[in-house]
């Protein structure tokens, strides 16, 4: 069995790494096709870390056109798909493993479907906001296997006409490293990066909302204004490269204050370590919904990027308005609220997802029943 993983962002690497680690442990043939932000210096060149850790990489497909607007975003996806088809033809994988909801994953799904390459989709069936939420369900239409992270997502896939045998509720693989304790010590991280060792801090991740890309800088301004009211240091992870990204980055860089520690990219264990030690998480990253509940970490979720996604009790939803964000942060910092989270569970699983996914892949035959899809409705 040869698996090909498509990786375009650091978030996706969080899904993929637990799986490729199992492949290495079990001597399963695998390779990684790296693209988009994973290759770009301006987004931390994650590919260097992946290669440095000895993972097998078959291809590096540069796809991202400059501009960070809707036109370049769509055209970049087309650039990717034309190259990825050649990757499939050369590598001949038994399975392509897609993750999440980004455009390059959708392009991967289309390429696989039209070449009748078996394709499995991690984090399938969920609701999420903006174009990514639509992309996720489009991937679902092309994917031959769906790995849902919770019962809600599995049920949605069923209702969308997917056959039962294709749907597996396995949880979210990005939780696996947490269950295994692959989390950096927050105290060591603070020391290494020169933060005040005693004081609490916030973890901030703000991505542009693609349909609001013209307001991206205004949204960043609202968040910075709200954060300015708090003396806590801020660990700020810079955004992805979707439409509006340059507006967010420019605003953050030009209005940054000395209490904001910026990072383009962090090793996964360090990101989780910062999450573990934070007083609260602020922004619109899916990590606030997916990983933060495991750490009982309050997550201030701003805007509609994660709209209608399943969320735990740790999430406080608010709007892109400084006063509303400040109020939500104050609630997130409240010791009573923190205390209320200590007994909550993560709706995205128990951290043993990757082994379940590999097990299903091993047991599934790539026959006509799998490859010729029949929509039940």
């Amino acid at each position: 069995m040869k698996l090909l993983f498509l990786n375009g962002s650091r978030g996706e690497w969080g899904y993929i790494q637990p799986l490729v680690d199992i492949c290495r442990d079990q001597s399963i043939d695998y390779t990684i096709c790296a693209t988009n932000m994973v290759l770009l210096p301006g987004y931390g060149s994650l590919i260097k870390d992946i290669r440095a850790q000895g993972y097998e990489v078959c291809d590096e497909i540069f796809m991202s056109l400059e501009g960070h607007n809707h036109t370049t975003m769509a055209k970049s996806l087309a650039v990717f798909m034309t190259s990825f088809v050649d990757t499939l033809r050369r590598e001949k994988p038994d399975w392509v493993i897609l993750s999440g909801d980004r455009g390059e994953q959708l392009m991967g799904a289309i390429a696989c479907a039209y070449t009748y390459t078996p394709v499995a989709h991690i984090q399938a069936g969920e609701l999420s906001g903006n174009i990514d939420g639509v992309s996720r369900h489009a991937i679902g239409k092309f994917a031959h296997l769906h790995f849902a992270a919770n019962a809600d997502a599995a049920e949605r896939l069923q209702k969308l006409g997917e056959e039962d045998f294709r749907i597996h509720n396995v949880g979210h693989p990005a939780l696996d490293p947490i269950a295994k304790g692959c989390v950096s010590d927050p105290a060591e991280l603070k020391k290494h990066h020169g933060l005040n060792s005693e004081a609490p801090y916030f973890l901030v991740v703000l991505h542009p909302v693609t349909e609001d890309y013209e307001q991206a800088d205004t949204q960043a301004a609202a968040l910075m204004e709200a954060l300015g009211q708090f003396e806590q240091e801020k660990i700020w992870i810079l955004s992805n490269n979707d439409a509006g990204a340059s507006r967010v980055r420019d605003h953050v860089l030009r209005h940054r204050t000395a209490d904001i520690h910026l990072f383009e990219n962090l090793p996964r264990e360090d990101f989780l370590g910062f999450m573990k030690g934070a007083q609260c998480m602020v922004g619109n990253s899916s990590a606030g919904l997916l990983e933060a509940p495991t750490f009982h970490l309050p997550a201030i979720n701003i805007g509609r990027r994660q709209h209608r996604r399943v969320q735990g009790q740790n999430v406080i939803n608010t709007l892109f308005e400084p006063a509303a964000i400040s109020a939500a942060i104050r609630q997130g910092c409240d010791p009573v609220f923190h205390q209320s989270l200590t007994t909550t569970t993560n709706p995205y699983g128990d951290g043993h997802s990757a082994e379940k996914i590999i097990s299903v892949l091993k047991q599934t035959q790539a026959d006509d029943q799998l490859l010729i899809k029949r929509l039940t409705y």
């Binding site: 770009l40 210096p41 301006g42 990066h193 020169g194 810079l238 860089l253 030009r254 940054r256 204050t257 000395a258 209490d259 520690h261 910026l262 990072f263 383009e264």
Partner: protein, 123 residues
């Protein structure tokens, strides 16, 4: 902290890789501080000779703007503290550490070379 001319350490984000390399060659700190402009000196990041070398190895033209290669995750000090700077030089091997105010405006620069010279009693 003595008054000093910080200009030899500065470049702007519109500079090319070649222009940044020239700044670095002249300042003996293996690094340049990237500011929004030379007057306000708001620090946006740093660029090191390693960053430029890596860009060159990737085949990037030397006349390409440095924007993509600026490191925004750089280490800085919020107040002048020579001992703290020396500790970070020893820990991380930086060529230079900027000192900034609350608004990230550049106030001072510690360099590893000057720190080393001081420790040797040369300066």
């Amino acid at each position: 902290m003595e008054s000093e001319n910080l200009t030899p350490y500065l470049t702007t984000e519109t500079a090319t890789l070649l222009e940044a390399a020239r700044v670095i060659r002249g300042n003996y700190a293996r690094t340049a501080v990237v500011v929004d402009d030379f007057e306000t000196r708001k620090v946006l990041g740093v660029i090191s000779e390693g960053d430029i070398l890596e860009a060159s190895l990737q085949g990037v033209d030397v006349h390409t703007p440095i924007t993509e290669f600026v490191n925004h995750s750089f280490t800085y000090l919020h107040e002048a503290d020579e001992t703290a700077a020396q500790q970070r030089f020893a820990q991380h091997g930086f060529g230079l550490i900027p000192v900034v105010d609350d608004q990230m405006q550049l106030q001072h620069v510690y360099t590893m070379l000057r720190s080393f010279r001081k420790s040797m009693g040369i300066e």
